[in-house]
């Protein structure tokens, strides 16, 4: 019997009637679909992310095309959402900012939650011992720190070094445009955010793995001589996949927000790359707001709606998985 023993549904998935032959994912999706707010949030997130993906195709102008003759204009037929201080099209900037948010959240979720958090959580929970102690203590230190302030410190100190390193790569290889395209600052923001956004996932997964480790199907697999790799990938991972989705959905807002705050502070994504943080900063003076409210209100509305949608969807998903 080499195939994975069918795992009992985790306690969280019990609660509402389960139809015959329905997978756990289908149950959760069915519950989630009934929640109108959650669906609206999902739609909103898809629209904003879709705008980010399609920005190079759909944006009417380039995000860096400066036209000083037409600066600080209100909405018009040529510029649907007006222009900023340098005459750049606000609609295009907003779409490219959504692209930045999309890139940063996806990259951090992939590396921080899916890779680091997942692997460390599984290993710590399954192997236990010194590895468990080490991972949990390091996690405790990270979660005990004020993340935003440490991120600011790391980015302001290492930012110039990373830029230097990228310049060196440009000079010594055929790769070009790393610094000019803002790639350096993206890399820095994404790697430092990953550093702080793995802890939650790792903790949740470890706790679940600790419980799963004692279950019969894992013991059976071990008794039949399954390697740790096999136990982890075939028996444990499928049973914590819900928790991974949950922890991702609960951190998305935090990741997106952190990038915006860092960029506002001047240590995140560097100009001319578009970011909501940079747009908000440009519109944030009280006098500026009085004269040109669209500079703040356009990115502000999008950001608020996006963060609100992340929160609502995360809550609803949590409820759906826990059987409500």
């Amino acid at each position: 019997m080499t195939t994975a023993t069918p795992a009992p549904a985790p306690a969280e998935v019990r609660g509402t009637p389960v139809l015959e032959g329905e997978s756990q994912w289908q149950i959760v999706w069915r519950r989630l679909r009934r929640k109108k707010l959650a669906m609206a949030s999902l739609a909103l997130i898809i629209v904003i992310y879709g705008a980010g993906i399609a920005a190079p195709l759909l944006a009417p102008y380039s995000y860096r095309e400066i036209n000083l003759d037409r600066s600080l204009e209100g909405p018009s037929a040529q510029h649907l959402l007006g222009t900023d201080r340098l005459g750049r099209d606000m609609l295009s900037r907003t779409m490219y900012s959504a692209r930045t948010t999309l890139i940063v959240t996806t990259a951090v979720v992939l590396s921080g939650s899916l890779l680091i958090g997942n692997v460390l959580g599984l290993l710590a929970g399954y192997r236990g011992g010194w590895l468990d102690t080490l991972v949990m203590r390091v996690g405790e230190i990270f979660s005990g720190l004020p993340a935003l302030i440490m991120l600011i410190l790391i980015n302001v100190s290492l930012g110039p070094r990373v830029t230097d390193a990228m310049r060196w790569i440009e000079d010594h290889t055929f790769i070009t445009g790393l610094v000019a395209s803002g790639f350096a600052s993206y890399m820095l923001v994404f790697s430092t955010l990953s550093l702080f956004f793995w802890v939650g996932t790792a903790r949740i997964i470890r706790a679940q793995v600790l419980a799963l480790r004692e279950t019969d199907f894992v013991l059976a697999a071990e008794a039949m001589g399954a390697s740790p790799w096999r136990v982890i990938t075939r028996h444990l991972l499928p049973n914590v996949s819900f928790l991974i989705i949950l922890s991702i959905s609960s951190t998305l807002g935090g990741i997106a927000g952190s990038e915006i705050f860092l960029t506002w502070f001047g240590v995140g994504v560097q100009p001319p790359a578009a970011s909501f943080g940079a747009m908000l900063f440009e519109g944030s003076g009280a006098r500026t707001f009085q004269a040109h409210p669209h500079l703040l209100l356009i990115p502000g509305t999008v950001v608020t709606m996006l963060l609100f949608a992340f929160n609502l969807l995360g809550d609803a998903l949590n409820d759906a998985v826990r059987g409500r």
Binding site: G128, T133, E140, I141, G144, L145, P146, A147, L148, I149, M150, I152, L153, I154, V156, S157, L158, P160, R161, L210, G253, G257, I260, F261, W264, F265, G266, V267, G277, L280, F281, G283, S284, G285, A286, R287, T288, F289, Q290, P293, L296, P299, G300, V303, T304, M305, L307, F308, N311, L312, D315
Partner: protein
């Protein structure tokens, strides 16, 4: 019990060491060279080298760190580059005091308004009032302070002219009635920062109180209280309220954390001379000694508060300790 406290307290210096050492190392990697800062206009390599040796900057980083730490615990946090002639401690401590006052008032208000809102939501659970309260608070939480503050200043300061545009003038003003009786009233500078600090914080407190009040509501002693004919008000205030407040201790840490991090943006946007704005200025001018000192102070406050909250929770609810014993 005491073993638990000792174990948690023993963890504190470890975290503080890791925080300060990593902060120090990272800050030393920054491009700002403390030697050229100290030398000012002088660019003679020999002079620079002499200062480097004098200040021990040619030594390995751990040695430098120990020296910095020894000075730091004695209150010497280095010199500011931006405001020459001032030591970092001279600059930082008055600002910390301002931030601490503001943060404390904000924390009190978050709880003073969040708790009743949570109780009301629980009381009207099952009606439209409950989701409306929680939904509104969730929405308020989603508005970043960066987006919230400029419209607030515009509305209250520029349009209505009710409040000052920014700045800080203490918590209380004294209002003289007939020139004889002094009544303390909140300073007008206080309102906008407090709105910005507290609006995102209500939802955390309110939701926790709501869930815990709903739980308490189902307990036997509340049913007994209702059964023996106590008025609804007495049940709410004597039985439900005290017992739903317990989990709140856990969010003190969270609430304070968001206030500490919010200080960076609120103080900067409102021109309040607190430690948040100080850090912003230091970051924009790459004033590394200040960045280092401010980060270490911020982190220390953060870590200590979290630990205190955890200890309080352990004291109030002995069940918590079971979870903390290691497997």
């Amino acid at each position: 019990m005491s073993a638990y406290i000792v174990r948690r307290l023993a963890w504190l210096p470890v975290i503080l060491f890791v925080v300060s050492f990593s902060t120090f190392t990272i800050a030393r990697f920054g491009p700002g060279d403390p030697v050229s800062v100290a030398a000012g206009q002088i660019r003679d390599p020999e002079v620079l080298e002499r200062i480097r040796v004098e200040r021990g900057l040619d030594r390995p980083i751990p040695v430098q760190y120990i020296k910095w730490l020894t000075n730091a615990v004695q209150g010497d946090l280095g010199e500011s580059y931006l405001q020459q002639g001032f030591s970092v401690s001279e600059l930082i401590f008055p600002r910390m005091w301002i931030s601490a006052q503001l943060g404390f008032v904000a924390l009190v208000i978050v709880f003073a308004i969040g708790i009743p809102l949570g109780l009301i939501a629980a009381r009207f659970s099952g009606t439209w009032i409950d989701p409306m309260i929680i939904g509104t608070l969730l929405f308020l939480q989603a508005i970043p302070v960066l987006v919230l503050i400029p419209p607030l200043i515009w509305l209250f300061a520029l349009q209505l002219n009710w409040l000052p545009v920014g700045g800080w003038d203490g918590i209380f003003d004294v209002w003289w009635i007939g020139g004889v009786i002094a009544v303390p009233i909140p300073d007008p500078h206080l309102y906008i920062p407090l709105i910005a600090f507290t609006l995102p914080g209500f939802v955390g407190v309110a939701r926790l109180v709501r869930v815990s009040a709903l739980e308490v509501n189902l307990s036997d002693y509340v049913r007994t209280a209702r059964a023996k004919g106590l008025s609804e008000a007495a049940v709410q205030f004597r039985h439900i309220l005290p017992n739903s407040l317990l989990p709140l201790i856990t969010v003190v840490g969270f609430a304070l954390a968001s206030i500490i991090e919010g200080a960076l943006f609120v103080e900067t946007l409102l021109g309040i001379n607190g430690i948040g704005r100080f850090l912003f200025e230091a970051v924009t001018s790459r004033d590394y000694d200040v960045i280092l000192a401010a980060t270490v102070i911020f982190s220390t406050v953060f870590v200590v508060t979290n630990l205190l909250a955890e200890l309080c929770y352990g004291l109030v609810d002995p069940r918590v300790r079971i979870g903390s014993t290691r497997r």
